[in-house]
């Protein structure tokens, strides 16, 4: 076998690249970024997609009106397909204009006029192809025409056209289409004028064929959204909703040409898996040229891309760090990005080390190999990583993982002082610094409240600590001692965890999503945290479906959950504690079912305010109320760690922007040189194996011959 392997490998190694190079030799010095994904994106239709792994692709293909600035912080919206960031105009119930600082209660309608940049063209796509007479080439396909067609590339002709305002309006109408199941339809129904009515009218067309539905949608009118002229459209929003501007930076609001909708809706297309959810049509810098999510997904430079330039301004220190070295240069820098499916972390990590992926996250298994902590407690790269020229980027994610109390529960929930003291005692006892250290390799920041760093309203330093759990000592937040927690337990009527009323140990149920043996250590840890106070924690493990069901019914007591920001506004975190957003009563995202009238009133005011001292003061009060009531143990904000090879440039942490591939630049020659250097085949084991085999075979052969030649006694 070693000889066979040697022959096969020799043939394999006849190329220019390393033997273990998984990519064709012809791609060696191409301007390609190599990356991986571990889960098939479920949706690539911008009306349906909401997951981060899907937006990682869609962000490069579709262009909504706005985007986040690549470098500036706090996160700032800048135009993308729009000419400028729209400023809402307010109107009262009579339709009369109101000043920008009008009270929210007076505002009946906000209008966002979006002006589209002229000259933007869609990527080449068969939906736009026309014949010599100007008729659409592929808009009336018969079964005969579709014979032999299995992929989008099987259509030989493509076309394009200019992006116009109507494409944005068409997409907003698509959000209302019941058959598309857009996840934000519920939110938009509450905010966009006429959205609900359009949804209801479109529901009547639901039973019709796909093509008829599209035609119905195309000609339907959405009262609050109108095309003003070829390059501008207006969105009417009910009342005042300042956060609406952030939605305009998401793929949900990216333009969709009606031609694409009609093309994909034709009979026979779905049966051939040729659907918009699989083959996007955008105006962005890249287009999806290969969608084989069981193997790889390939983004190619869009030849029709309108052009954009690398940002010229950044934060202090950006110029020195080299992140502004490409300032003003045309984007994108690369021609292609190949994302290979890697379900397992071990091969993914090893291929990164071999140089076959340009960037990598760090799994728990590989963490010690990549990162160590210096004397100041800061994460730094290990010697081997530094020798490879790898760089480490870290940033706090706009997310929170928290331990929630079900406020509807008679023991841990409610507004009584007893329950509040119990929750505060538990908040002290559950040591999330330890959790971060043990279970996430230090990649997290203990939360002091619901708002993560980087989001307006978050306070740093002494002013930002949760005084019920921490005290400020030696210039840092220090968790209060267990004795204080035990005192709170006594005050709550649970001395040493014994319920004074019943004389029995306090028992609390913990709802856990546990799917494997790895979860056991985590669950044991959480049990020990409660045991510090004498509380007996009963772990009720289940799958995610049942867990969600318990949350919806409010049958749990304590649970752990998380939230990842949709947009960088404190409203997107504080709404998790807003009473009318309660999970049980309103099926909202307030899983703790926390309801405090003062909190709700302040929240209603805060969400309409522009960032500034008044809003900060209001947020401070909201956070103070929440800390006092302690519906959550505040948990932690995860930190993202990413590694990048020396040939990859302009990798910069930006947790809100999902369209950052266009900024990436690679030095393909250096990459190829280093790959070959790092992956020289080691041949001696093959020769040694062949020799060993001979050593086994020859004596055996000799023995066989001897036995056959020997005489019987």
């Amino acid at each position: 076998m070693p000889v066979l392997v040697l022959v096969m490998l020799s043939v394999a190694g006849c190329g220019e690249s390393a033997w273990n190079d998984p990519y064709p030799a012809s791609d060696a010095e191409s301007k390609t970024v190599y990356s991986s994904f571990n889960e098939r994106p479920k949706h690539l239709d911008p009306a349906r997609s909401y997951s981060s792994n899907e937006v990682a692709f869609l962000g490069q293909i579709y262009e909504p009106p706005l985007q986040y600035h690549f470098l500036l912080r706090p996160y700032r919206l800048i135009p993308l397909a729009a000419i400028e960031v729209p400023v809402p105009r307010y109107y009262d119930a009579a339709g009369d204009p109101l000043p920008a600082d009008a009270p929210a209660t007076d505002i009946a309608r906000s209008d966002y006029l979006i002006q589209v940049r002229p000259g933007i063209r869609f990527q080449p796509h068969p939906a736009f192809a026309r014949d010599a007479e100007g008729r659409f080439r592929y808009h009336a396909l018969s079964e005969t025409d579709l014979r032999g067609v299995n992929r989008l590339n099987d259509f030989p002709e493509v076309g394009s056209r200019e992006l116009i305002a109507e494409d944005f309006v068409h997409q907003i109408k698509r959000l209302a289409a019941p058959w598309l199941h857009s996840p934000i339809a519920g939110v938009m129904r509450r905010h966009i004028i006429g959205f609900q009515g359009l949804s209801e009218r479109l529901a009547e067309a639901e039973e019709k064929g796909a093509l008829e539905r599209v035609e119905h949608l195309r000609h339907a009118r959405l009262a609050g959204v109108e095309v003003v002229d070829r390059y501008s459209f207006r969105i009417g929003v009910k009342g005042k909703y300042p956060q609406f501007i952030y939605w305009l930076a998401m793929p949900f609001f990216a333009p969709m040409p009606w031609e694409a909708d009609v093309f994909y809706a034709q009979p026979g297309m779905r049966e051939r898996n040729i659907i918009l959810d699989w083959y996007p049509v955008g105006t962005g810098p890249f287009m999806l040229s290969e969608n084989n999510p069981n193997l790889r997904m390939v983004l190619m430079r869009n030849p029709n891309f309108h052009g954009e330039r690398y940002p010229t301004e950044g934060m202090p220190g950006d110029r020195e760090s080299g992140i502004l070295a490409d300032a003003g240069r045309p984007l994108p820098f690369i021609d292609r990005a190949i994302y290979s499916l890697e379900k397992e972390s071990i091969p993914r990590w090893n291929k990164f080390l071999q140089g076959y992926y340009d960037s990598s996250g760090i799994s728990s298994d590989a963490f010690d190999q990549a990162v160590q902590v210096d004397a100041e407690g800061e994460p730094i790269l290990t010697q081997s990583m530094r020798e490879q020229g790898v760089s480490l980027l870290t940033s706090v994610e706009p997310s929170i993982f928290y331990l929630g109390f079900n406020m509807l529960d008679p023991v841990v929930g409610g507004d009584s002082q007893r329950a509040r003291l119990l929750r505060r005692a538990i908040s002290i006892a559950v040591d999330f610094e330890e959790f971060i250290s043990i279970f996430v390799n230090g990649r997290g920041l203990a939360a002091q409240g619901p708002i993560p760093p980087g989001i307006f309203g978050h306070r740093e330093g002494e002013a930002g600590i949760n005084p019920f759990v921490y005290e400020w000592r030696g210039g840092r937040a220090v968790r209060r001692g267990l004795e204080e927690a035990r005192t709170l337990m006594r005050q709550a009527g649970y001395p040493d965890g014994i319920d004074r009323d019943t004389g029995r140990a306090l028992t609390i149920n913990y709802e856990a999503v546990a799917t494997g043996p790895d979860d056991r250590a985590r669950l044991n840890w959480i049990r020990k945290q409660f045991a510090k106070l004498g509380i007996e924690l009963v772990i009720r493990s289940t799958d995610y479906n049942r867990f969600q069901e318990k949350m919806r019914k409010g049958t749990g007591q304590v649970f752990m959950w998380g939230w990842n920001a949709d947009y960088p506004d404190p409203e997107n975190f504080l709404f998790l504690l807003y009473g009318p957003n309660g999970k049980v009563e309103h099926l909202g995202e307030n899983a703790a079912n926390y309801a405090n009238p003062e909190f709700d009133r302040l929240y209603d005011e805060m969400k309409y305010l522009d960032d500034g001292p008044q809003r900060q003061a209001m947020i401070d009060r909201l956070v103070e109320i929440a800390r006092t009531d302690a519906p959550w143990v505040w948990g932690f904000h995860p930190k993202a760690f990413s590694l990048h090879h020396q040939w990859l440039f302009n990798a910069h942490p930006n947790q809100m922007a999902k369209n950052t591939l266009k900024y990436r630049r690679v030095d393909a020659k250096r990459r190829q040189r280093l790959r070959r250097e790092w992956n020289r085949p080691v041949l001696w084991p093959l020769w040694a194996g062949a020799g060993l085999l001979l050593l086994v075979i020859l004596p055996a052969w000799w023995s066989v011959r001897r036995r056959e030649g020997s005489r019987a006694l």
């Binding site: 392997v5 394999a12 998984p22 019941p178 379900k343 090893n350």
Partner: protein, 325 residues
């Protein structure tokens, strides 16, 4: 024999209905149609109306097994079970809950699975039989004892260890083959070397021990002793007599797995990034895509039954004493 085969195919129908029913029950014990809708619609901001609309569109808004509102025979047919199962018997797999044509996906994904499974089977068979004959030749010697110890050790090791070890040694340390990945057409073969080697080595322990047992049983028979008494070469005895007569159980073992080669291997495909059928079912389970789960289980059951029938037929080909009635 024709009547026998027809009878076996008819027996298969109740078995397939049973398999289908059990799959259905197991799936819906764990996942409700609401859960499936939530999985497909996403976890954030999903409304009850959206869930209801999804269920209606995908035919999951009906009762699972019996529709009391309709009653009678229609009560059995106007259900999720009937509507989702009946077309399978015509091998119409339909669309996945995500909207993809399952038949097309299977036809695309079975080739990478076969590209690994067939070489592993053939090379493994040749190697294991040769090794087993070698051990049998030296039976009751230290070579036999040492080989058995080695084989027991090899079959005790998890297949995951072989995969990770193979990737580490051949891919990472010696840089001889890609650690993982796949390509279409002729480019695929360099990605197949490592999984095939790992597959063959991982199967040596169990395979060789099995064949050694078969050969030892055969070698103890009278006709072998007669051949040896005639003064026939030991090699001729082994290859001409023992191997040929031991072919029946070998064939049984091989033919029964032939149809299942299409189904691929979950762990191997997952670790090597092979886009085969092995991971198709598991992905469907984790995505709560019942359409794919039921299709793959049904296909697996059909292939297994087919394998058993082929085994029976192959008996008649290699052993003239066996006749099917």
């Amino acid at each position: 024999m024709t009547a026998y085969i027809i009878r076996r195919f008819l027996y298969a129908i109740p078995i397939l209905i049973g398999v289908n029913l059990i799959t259905f029950l197991l799936f819906f014990v764990v996942n409700s149609p609401d859960d499936m809708a939530r999985m497909h619609l996403g976890q954030k901001r999903v409304t009850q109306e959206a869930i209801q609309a999804w269920k209606q569109e995908h035919g999951y808004d009906k009762p699972l097994l019996y529709n009391r509102e309709v009653g009678g025979i229609a009560g059995l047919t106007d259900t999720i079970f009937f509507e989702k199962s009946v077309r399978l018997f015509a091998f119409q797999f339909g669309s996945s809950d995500a909207g993809r044509d399952i038949g097309y996906d299977i036809s695309q994904r079975m080739w990478p699975s076969l590209a690994i499974a067939v070489p592993v089977l053939l090379v493994g068979l040749a190697f294991n039989i040769s090794f087993a004959l070698f051990i049998v030749f030296f039976r009751a010697t230290y070579i036999d004892f040492g080989s058995v110890v080695l084989l027991v050790a090899m079959l005790s090791i998890s297949s995951l260890f072989y995969i990770i070890g193979g990737q580490f040694i051949l891919g990472k340390v010696f840089h001889l083959v890609p650690i993982s990945g796949y390509d279409t057409g002729l480019q695929a073969w360099k990605f197949l070397i490592l999984p095939v080697i790992v597959g063959v080595i991982g199967g040596i322990g169990a395979g060789t021990r099995w064949y050694r047992t078969l050969f030892l049983e055969e070698i103890a028979k009278d006709y072998v002793r007669t051949a040896q008494a005639k003064g026939l070469d030991e090699r001729l005895v082994l290859f001409r007599h023992v191997l040929r007569n031991a072919l029946i159980p070998i064939l049984t073992g091989v033919v029964v797995v032939l149809p299942l080669l299409f189904m691929g291997s979950l762990i191997t495909e997952s670790f090597f990034g092979i886009p085969g059928l092995g991971s198709y079912t598991i992905d469907a389970i984790s995505n709560q895509d019942f359409a794919i789960v039921r299709s793959m289980v049904f296909l697996g059951a059909v292939l297994y039954i087919l394998g058993l029938i082929l085994t029976d037929i192959s008996y008649t080909l290699v052993d003239p004493r066996v006749r099917l009635q």
